[in-house]
Amino acid sequence: MSEGKLRIGWGRTGNNNIPNFLIKPLTFAGNPTGNLVYSFGPDEAFIPGTTISTLANPNLKWEQTDQMDVGIDLGFINNKLNVTIDWYKRKSTGLLVSVPIPSSTGIGVSGEQSTKTVNAADAQNTGIELQVGYADKASKDFGYTISANVAFNRNKVLSLGGEFTAPIQAGAFDQLSTFTYTAPGSAIGAFYGYRLDKVASTQAEIDALNAKTGSSGTEYQEGLMPGDFIFKDLNGDNVVTSADQEILGNPIPKIVYGFNAGINYKNFDLNIVLSGVSGLQLLNATKFNTQVMATGHNATTAILDRWRQEGDVASLPRLGQNANSSGNLRASDWWLEDGSYARLRNITLGYTLMQDKIAGFAMGAFKSIRLYVAAQNLFTITRYSGYDPEIFAQNGASFIFNRGIDDGQIPQPRTFLAGIQLGF
């Protein structure tokens, strides 16, 4: 061992990034001001109106994060081998978020869900980060550095605070209802819904389920017909109701890892960056268009494995279902996919011509010339079937509550580069 360091840190930080004017109600006369009008008189002239459209919250305070870190830095063999291990626990209280509130409050403008900015949630992240690096210059011509890192993280909501006790439901898309659910005990913005059993093959199968309910006329699952998804009865009462929903997974990766390597041999240099995540789920919302034929869009060939007639055993339901959440398209694990991926982010190969080789070129104007080829996102290893597993949040929505919802974001391109680098 050539070096050893123990680090222990504790800190408290506040986030005062609170938008102005949230603590007291202000007038609203349209946006821009003056657009709020109604018509009176025989000529139906515009008469200006003024009201308020927000719910002020005088109790807002800074959000606060307590962080505890314990780390060890170790160096071996003259610091050729470096190892860093960190453990952290980050507890945030009073996270400032705009949360949806009941529409009966009347807050907001036309078409909008009512919201209020509150210190809504207390959440905790705990994790371990490990980094190992090795650098060596083996000879005059050959040197390399390799480093790998891996981080494990666990996110949990501790409470929703005194001001807001209802679970925060978000992540609705198209004509479907919400998919994410934030409540104490689970991860922030976790996916929530039903568990899919299978596609009902025959009427007899449905009759058998209905018979198990014990009372004639009671359906196991409302409106269930052959060719529909059968959802699981999780609470064992032989009927599928909203009580049969549970946390299905979450979009926060359990493991984040990366790998870096740089190799120099004579005039060649090679650089590789690879990164990936694992242990998360993504909601593939593009299935709404590509796999169910509910709205008259083109579908993918997946649709060929749909239920067509009595007795079919299929993976997708029949055509012509409702494009709403009351049937097959309700929030369920059918939408979720493993979002793990490993991606070769960058690979670059270069060759450098030094001064002695190019002295006669361009009257010696250049000190060096480096030629290189590079590829970004050359390949991605994933089982995710959407465009790109590397997505953040639903288009234009909150990263906290709408994370991991893939509604067809533009995927990252694969890029090939070739270049000449001139040194003067």
Binding site: G41, S103, T105, A166
Partner: protein, 530 residues
């Protein structure tokens, strides 16, 4: 020594903190005013009142969704193939708790209540010093109460038990209201309307045409009693409207009631005021899709004409069921009779009684309605609330035809019903029904027969007179015949043949926009519906 150093640091920190002047920390918005101080004069309170009226045009309400919701669910309109997506679900009765239009209706109605509560809250906080201001404040509060009652009347009719929020402060204190029993909401509606009746003027100055009047409050109160089957009280209120100081009478021209200048008619009791859309420099033509008050510019027009118009977006037919209702046994003799209101209500062929020409006022003269006899659905299209008499095509939402919320013919038919419901089928109900028929030149009844016969006549009369005015769905529900009638009509309708109305449809589903965010409401929702 160390201790002293620390102490010094602490003291100097305190000194720094306390020396920050409060005025530096408290920034006043330059773009808006404070709720506490702005509404302390009659002009500002007027603006708050105008903002309450403005919600009549919000999503879910009269600029767009309101007529879709009730024409489709009441089966006066059915979809053409142009109508897809969420509206088609409404048309097919496959809507769930996340149906956008129903969620928007809930949101719009409660936003109206919120803004009404603001008027009342601010009026209570201001003490005017002169009588003129005091009168104005009384009037604004009365208008707010009228609008709040109108909103709760819709809510209780459609959803039954629902949150009842009657003041601003209690909402601020508790954002998670429970549902109140329907009976309490009806009581609150009656109270508001009686208060409004006291303080609203019979007429306004010309410039204020369109504001709620004493007559509007009286008519709505009569309707509220009627919906609760309080026949005697309904009659008392509605009769007031036939006497001084009121001067309501039926418009000599039925067509005028649904034309571009329908804001001036002796028959109007309460309308939604839709001003014309003129150009993009003034306002956004498509504001009805959620841009009310926020997408550049000012606009108050309706997109009904554009959405329903056969020369434009052509989203709906009038149903064959509605068309056929205009042909019925001749009140004075044998055989069938085609009601003259048919040609004011829809375009069709001559046999249906509908209008067969349009563009009567166009420069090139009138054109024949291109009735497609091969259309399996029956090619009948809406004429009421269209202005194809003036132009060949609209090219975009721009209609200034005001929506009729309550008009005098409705009052006369409600009056007739109060008698018939109490088994009086004599000269009073006969007279009111014949008044309404005489205006359009329809054959008069010589008698209404027994109660069952009289009720049938009355039901048909409401169906025909108020066709396409978002009355039928409410009527079918309150008469207790919605399931039977709608399933029979749809079963027989070409291109339909379904019987989608289930018992649960007697009430609308509590929408996700409430249920998902309000545990106090969610706890009481039965069967994921209401």
């Amino acid at each position: 020594m160390k201790y002293i150093t620390r102490l010094t640091v602490v003291i100097s920190l305190i000194a720094i903190i306390t020396s920050c002047k409060k005025s530096l920390l408290e920034i006043d918005s330059q773009g808006a005013y404070s709720y506490e101080t702005y509404f302390n004069n009659s002009d500002a309170l007027n603006q708050a009142t105008v903002a309450t009226y403005a919600t009549l045009l919000h999503n879910g309400l009269w600029a767009r969704e309101y007529y879709f919701i009730f024409d489709l669910t009441g089966y006066e309109a059915k979809r053409t193939n142009n109508m897809q997506g969420d509206l088609a679900q409404l048309a097919m009765y496959t809507f769930g708790t996340n149906q956008p239009q129903i969620g928007d209706l809930w949101k719009g109605l409660y936003r109206m209540i919120f803004r009404a509560n603001i008027v009342i809250d601010r009026a209570n906080a201001w003490s005017p010093t002169n009588a003129d201001d005091q009168n104005k404040v009384n009037q604004y509060v009365a208008e707010a109460k009228f609008l709040r009652a109108y909103s709760y009347f819709n809510i209780v009719s459609l959803w039954g038990d629902a949150p009842l929020i009657t003041d601003y402060e209690s909402m601020v204190a508790n954002n998670y209201p429970e549902r109140s029993p329907a009976a309490n909401i009806w009581t609150a509606v009656e109270t508001d309307l009686k208060d409004a009746q006291n303080d609203l003027p019979v007429v306004y100055s010309t410039a204020d045409l369109g504001r709620a009047t004493k007559g509007a409050a009286t008519a709505l109160l009569g309707k509220v009693y009627l919906y609760q089957k309080k026949w005697g009280e309904a009659r008392t209120e509605l009769l007031k409207l036939t006497q001084s100081p009121y001067t309501y009478k039926l418009d000599p021209s039925y067509d005028h009631l649904f034309s571009s200048n329908n804001q001036v008619s002796p028959e109007n009791i309460f309308q939604v005021m839709n001003g014309p859309w003129t150009d993009w420099g003034i306002g956004n033509q498509y504001y009805v899709f959620g841009g009310q008050e926020t997408w550049g510019g000012k606009a108050t027009h309706s997109d009904r004409a554009q959405e329903y118009g056969f020369r434009d977006w052509n989203n709906v037919y009038i149903t064959n069921a509605a068309v056929k209702a205009f042909t019925y046994p001749n009140p004075a003799g044998a055989g069938n009779y085609i009601d003259p209101r048919a040609k004011s209500t829809f375009y069709g062929n001559a046999a249906s009684g509908g209008a067969t020409v349009y563009c009567e006022l166009c420069p090139g003269g009138s054109k024949p309605y291109p009735f497609n006899a091969d259309d399996q659905q029956g090619d009948y299209k809406w004429k009421k609330y269209q202005y194809y008499n003036e132009v060949d095509t609209y090219g975009g939402p721009a209609s200034s035809i005001n929506a009729q919320v309550i008009r005098y013919a409705d009052v006369l038919l409600m009056l007739a019903e109060t008698y018939i419901q109490e088994s009086n089928t004599g000269s009073e109900p006969l007279g009111y029904i014949n008044d309404v028929r005489a205006r359009v030149g329809a054959t008069l009844y010589s008698s209404l027969g027994d109660q069952a016969s009289a009720m049938n006549i009355l039901k048909r009369e409401r169906q025909l007179e108020l066709c396409g005015e978002q009355s039928r769905y409410f009527d079918l529900i309150r008469w207790g015949i919605a399931k039977e009638i709608i399933n029979v009509e749809r079963g027989a309708e070409p291109g339909d043949g379904t019987q989608p109305f289930q018992d649960k449809h007697l009430l609308f589903p509590i929408p996700d926009v409430e249920k998902n965010y309000n545990p106090a409401v969610a706890a009481g929702v039965r069967n994921d519906w209401n």
